[in-house]
């Protein structure tokens, strides 16, 4: 979700950092002000009225934050606008930080509460990190990756590119029955070299991208190899080689898209599992606290 519409990437990230720190400081100052007028003690005690109230509020916020999960599962039900959900998710998450810090009395407590609080902090910071990534990487992808595709389908699309490359090279080294020519466009040792290049480097690269360890992953190396082939083959084969190079470049862009996509979403590998664990521990903590405190 983009924060604002007309700001630069740096401006949006700055706004997030400012909002995170600002909301946290505002919450802490509020608690300090309450102490100054005698409403509660400082540092706030987790088991005092303010601490428990913050715990309840924080718990409700966490519960609301987790509702975004079923909202995603049932996105077809159109339970409110996605942007609205994300805005509420982000702001509630930021507000939750000072609330929980006050609830914890700026301490960690026992082992269970320590683990719960650490998970909460990790969830919060991973969320802020993810939000920052979302302000930066989509714009970068838009600018740097023409021909962007669906990240999850890149490997399958790579297979399509490989099929096209196989067909193109085959067309160069064979004579189709409907054609009148007696000789293929490329023949002899050159055809063998072309087939070897296709099978050893081009097709694996198109299918698997950078994972194939193909030299074509490096633009300079690819340019050099295609240039040498282009000089070696007859002029009639050069458009095909241009197309093959274009396919390799497309695959290279998809590799980069894959990398950016990974950084755009990898925080969720932390954010979601830790959110689930933290929420469950929070319930356990609440039950135990209610029983004995």
């Amino acid at each position: 979700m983009l924060v604002g519409k007309n700001r630069s990437v740096r401006g949006r990230i700055g706004a997030i950092v400012f909002a995170s720190i600002g909301v946290t400081l505002a919450g802490v100052l509020f608690a300090a002000a309450g102490n100054a007028v005698g409403l509660w003690t400082w540092p706030p005690q987790p088991s005092g009225p303010l601490g428990v109230a913050c715990g309840v509020i924080g718990g409700l916020i966490v519960f609301f934050e987790m509702l975004i999960l079923p909202r995603k599962w049932y996105r077809g039900k159109r339970l409110g606008r996605t942007r609205l959900w994300m805005q509420a998710h982000v702001w509630a998450g930021l507000i939750c930080l000072p609330v929980i810090l006050v609830h914890a009395g700026f301490g960690f407590g026992g082992p269970l509460t320590t683990v719960t609080l650490v998970l909460f902090l990790l969830v919060t910071f991973s969320g802020i990190w993810g939000l920052v990534m979302q302000q930066w990487l989509p714009q970068k992808m838009l600018e740097e990756i023409p021909g962007e595709s669906i990240a999850a389908q890149l490997d399958r699309l790579g297979g399509s590119l490989a099929d096209e490359a196989v067909r193109s090279v085959t067309a160069l080294i064979t004579v189709r029955p409907e054609e009148e020519a007696a000789e293929p466009v490329v023949s002899g040792s050159l055809a063998a070299e072309l087939v070897a290049f296709r099978d050893a480097h081009l097709v694996p690269y198109l299918q698997e991208g950078a994972r194939s360890k193909s030299p074509l992953a490096m633009p300079a190396e690819a340019e050099q190899r295609f240039a040498r082939l282009r000089e070696a083959v007859p002029p009639a084969a050069r458009p095909t080689l241009d197309r093959l190079q274009e396919l390799a470049e497309l695959r290279r862009r998809w590799d980069k898209q894959g990398q950016l996509h990974f950084w755009l979403h990898n925080w969720l590998l932390l954010h979601l599992p830790l959110s689930v664990a933290m929420s469950a521990l929070m319930v356990l903590h609440a039950v135990r606290a209610m029983k004995f405190w």
Binding site: G109, I150, R156, L269, P273, A277, L281, K291, W293
Partner: protein, 532 residues
């Protein structure tokens, strides 16, 4: 019709339009990790429900102190569990108060708070955990608490204490913030309420031979002690190489015994001396090996060797009636019976003629037979009265004791129990044995003194608070020593609980074995381990 560029892009997905239904590795990964995290927590919660002791460490704020170690994984042992109904109570938002719902009284007799505290303060003190904080590790002391627990009231005591309910009858200092800065002087040093009723001069007794001045004529020798109290008493005070003509030289420890304990050389010497006098030594010297306080001084153990109590020999019907020892701690009226019995016994033993006179018949028709005009009863009465007058004269009991009344109403003033002078604090003499006695007790050394001054009660020979602060103050604190010199504080501990104890504070000699420390219902071992 030209082909749309978008068509090339969409054509890539021909046959796979539902691609979004098949998650990629990132999506699969986050859900798989979420499931693992959820199951792990659910497993932990299941153990928590089924076997709470196994995971109780997760909920505790820290290990319990050593005395409570058995309850480390058993919250119910001390905390009162809350029920479902409590969820709908306003107390829900006062979890701190719920947390204080403890059951300390199961094992601890709750000697309460000062009788003079206000209701609010009483409520505060009803919560043991307001001052005693557990869950701070095995070695954490539950009784060494921070000064703030005390100063929260003592910085403005009037708010938390009703002076009119104070048992001491004296106003307490309203503001005390620390031992070093504004702690008041020892209240025990003020003898206005209970003046001393015993005349004793340390100066005389610490002079060689217990003379009024060193080298005085009235010197006490070992031979004189042997004559008065026997060989064992003389041996008790004899130093190596001394003969019977040597002057008796007393030291502080000659009388002030720091709980020597049965079996020590000091104890055996004292016991031998007392056994020779047929005194109940075991009741006088109960085993108290802690050594915090000195044993009480008593006549039999410390005075009798030099100051024996005896009825003087008398004369009746031309015969001498021998003198005899009389017991200590008897008022004149009570002693009179002992004196009569003693003289009667002596008269019988010496075949006094009055003993041979037949007892008067039961009736009073005939005049009693006379023997020189006196009867046996009248003679014993005469001898006893004379002895009583002598005993309670200036050279007898009144040499040390103050008396009130005259004749039949004569009484010896009781001596206030001063075994513990600082009754609202604890002090361990054994812990301070590295210092000379005179460091804290000035004026107890030998010195020339006039008989008139020696016959006056001594002031309290305990140095004031400054002598404590010399060591018990933060390092580099400027402290003024009793002699007025300035010094840097010793840095020795100086918190409130280093000297004061709150519970049973008015019973300084009552330790943990005291009756008031016992719980109402002691538990069996199995129940105790389970915290039931």
């Amino acid at each position: 019709m030209p082909r749309s560029p978008s068509r090339d892009l969409s054509d890539r997905y021909i046959g796979r339009r539902g691609y979004f239904r098949n998650p990629d590795s990132l999506r699969r990964g986050k859900y798989a990790l979420s499931a693992v995290a959820f199951l792990a927590v659910v497993g932990y919660a299941a153990i928590d429900v089924a076997q709470p002791q196994r995971v109780a460490y997760g909920h505790t704020h820290g290990p319990l102190a050593n005395p409570h170690a058995a309850f480390d994984h058993n919250c119910d042992a001390c905390h009162v569990p809350q029920g479902t109904a409590d969820l709908f109570s306003p107390r829900l938002f006062n979890a701190r108060a719920r947390w204080h719902d403890l059951t300390c009284e199961k094992c601890h007799a709750g000697a309460g708070h000062h009788a003079s505290v206000t209701d609010d303060a009483k409520q505060f003190h009803n919560r043991c955990s307001n001052c005693h904080h557990d869950h701070n590790g095995r070695l954490h002391s539950l009784v060494r608490i921070a000064d703030t627990h005390c100063t929260q009231c003592h910085t403005d005591l009037a708010k938390h204490h009703s002076a009119e309910l104070s048992k001491s009858g004296k106003p307490y200092q309203n503001k005390i913030t620390s031992f070093v800065s504004d702690h008041p002087e020892f209240r025990s040093l003020d003898l206005a309420a209970k003046p001393r009723t015993l005349t004793f001069s340390h100066a005389v007794h610490m002079n060689p031979g217990q003379a009024y001045a060193p080298g005085g004529k009235e010197a006490m020798t070992l031979g004189r002690i042997k004559q008065l109290a026997g060989d064992a008493a003389a041996e008790r005070y004899r130093k190596p190489g001394q003969g019977d003509d040597a002057l008796v030289v007393l030291e502080c420890a000659s009388c002030h015994k720091l709980d020597p304990g049965i079996g020590t050389t000091e104890h055996e010497k004292l016991k031998a001396a007392l056994d020779a006098l047929s005194e109940p030594t075991r009741s006088l010297l109960p085993a108290r090996p802690e050594g915090a306080y000195f044993l009480p001084i008593n006549y039999e153990a410390s005075c009798r060797s030099c100051h024996p109590l005896g009825a003087p020999a008398g004369s009746s019907a031309g015969k001498v009636v021998p003198g005899f020892d009389v017991p200590h701690r008897k008022q004149p009226a009570d002693l009179l019976g002992d004196l009569k019995a003693g003289y009667l016994k002596g008269m019988i033993a010496t075949n006094n003629p009055l003993v041979a006179v037949p007892a008067e018949p039961g009736g009073k028709i005939d005049a009693p037979p006379a023997a020189g005009g006196r009867t046996l009863a009248a003679e014993t009465e005469r001898l006893a009265q004379a002895a009583q007058r002598q005993l309670f004269s200036g050279d007898g009991c009144a040499k040390c004791h103050k008396t009130t009344g005259t004749d039949a109403g004569l009484r010896v003033s009781p001596i206030p129990d001063r075994t513990v002078w600082l009754r609202h604090a604890k002090f361990n003499h054994a812990a301070h044995r590295g210092a000379t006695c005179a460091t804290c007790h000035p004026g107890t050394a030998g010195a020339a003194i006039s008989p008139v001054d020696a016959a006056k009660p001594e002031p309290v020979q305990i140095e004031g608070m400054q002598s404590c602060r010399a060591c018990h103050s933060p390092q580099h604190t400027n402290v003024t020593l009793p002699d007025g010199t300035r010094a840097s504080g010793g840095g020795v501990r100086h918190t409130c609980t280093d000297c004061h104890r709150y519970h049973h504070g008015d019973q300084p000699l009552q330790g943990r074995g005291g009756e008031s420390w016992f719980p109402k219902e002691p538990r069996g071992l199995a129940d105790w381990l389970k915290g039931k």
